[in-house]
Symmetry: C2
Subunit: 222 residues, 2 copies
């Protein structure tokens, strides 16, 4: 179990991290926390222009009420997402799958505010019911969210945005009878660092952990 641990390990201390080339450090620190979620956030501004932007920071915050969060920086490329959400109070979260990685990555380009990333990248916007924010037609799992709150992170000028989950659309064969969504069944990807995408394959689903009891596989055919 320790074979890799016993390979040559290198140590980056605080001084070394701070002295790294800016691009090296961005790649390094963006990879070092592990795999990240891979989603496209869809919004629309008061000007009527749709926006679609890739985010790797979308995180579960709670199930009751159903809340999610993501980190943004109001002054950078994702500023349209932030300002559109503040204007309309709505956004959509659309899972990235293996077939749309390049288009999803391309949404990170610094398009002007009058350009829709849907049109620029060849992805398809989709409006459902009276929800103002656009969904991504190509995504298999899609979530409609309403803005709830924001928490400015004073240490670096980022903001934790909190959204309430209002609607979820997904294939009926993608989840089990007890509500677990098998993300590999919808070809979900995960982000490694700033620019890399990995395909994830389920290893196992494990029983609820209790002291003194070995965990075991609870995976079963649906």
């Amino acid at each position: 179990m320790k074979e890799k641990h016993l390979e040559k390990i290198v140590h980056f201390d605080k001084e070394k991290i701070e002295s790294l080339d800016k691009r090296f450090r961005a790649n390094f620190i963006n990879s070092v926390t592990g795999y990240k979620s891979a989603n496209l956030i869809g919004t629309v501004g008061k000007n009527g222009v749709s926006n679609l932007a890739i985010f790797s920071s979308i995180t579960h915050l709670g199930s009751d009420p159903a809340l999610l969060g993501f980190i943004t920086r109001p002054t950078t490329v994702s500023r349209h997402t932030y300002s559109n959400i503040k204007e309309t109070g709505q956004f959509t979260v659309n899972h990235i799958h293996t077939n749309i990685i390049k288009q999803a990555h391309q949404t990170a380009a610094r398009y002007d505010g009058d350009v829709s990333e849907f049109e620029a990248t060849g992805l398809t916007e989709d409006f459902i019911g009276n929800f103002k924010a656009p969904f991504l037609a190509e995504a298999h799992i899609r979530i409609a969210c309403e803005y709830v709150n924001e928490y400015p992170i004073k240490e670096n000028g980022t903001v934790l945005m909190v959204g309430a989950i209002k609607d979820i659309y997904l294939p009926e064969d993608s989840f089990t009878d007890d509500g677990w969504i098998n993300l590999s069944s919808v070809d979900g990807v995960t982000v490694n660092g700033l620019d890399s995408y990995a395909k994830a394959e389920l290893i196992d689903r494990l029983s609820y952990a209790k002291p003194g009891k070995d965990v075991e596989s609870i995976l079963k055919e649906k």
Copy 2:
């Protein structure tokens, strides 16, 4: 590209989500934001008892300064992590890999405060230099963090904890010349929902996105 999207899609609206069985909803909402990072946080309390706890919410917050965040709930099973960090100001982040999934999952059991999850699960604690918090010997990528701040999320009683990255230990062949860490090279796993683990395999690494320019692979043998 749309073959799955055109399968039968089911819709969960707010009322349906709120009326779901509690366990179904927990599984469902914990899976619906996509893949999550898979780490074990190591801490030690004033009482000298080590603690190791699985977290799937560790997220990159910024590279300069190097900051990470995670979500916790001070009143639940992970309370020892929270209270130990408040007591000592230190914690470690240790990547979960394919060979330690069951032990990692087992750390979520509600052990008493005088029980070390290292001992209870058969994992190995490791102290490096004068850093007080224990590292996980079995992990290939290990990070020492100092507590910086906390942001209570008033919507559901969780807390965003912010840590500063002080030290990083990793295999010398796990990252490229430009700082990108290939997480699949160290058998990194990702979390799907509350209880499932997936092995991730790199698909591609893509060039910096610019308007009007197609992204292309920048993957190369090191």
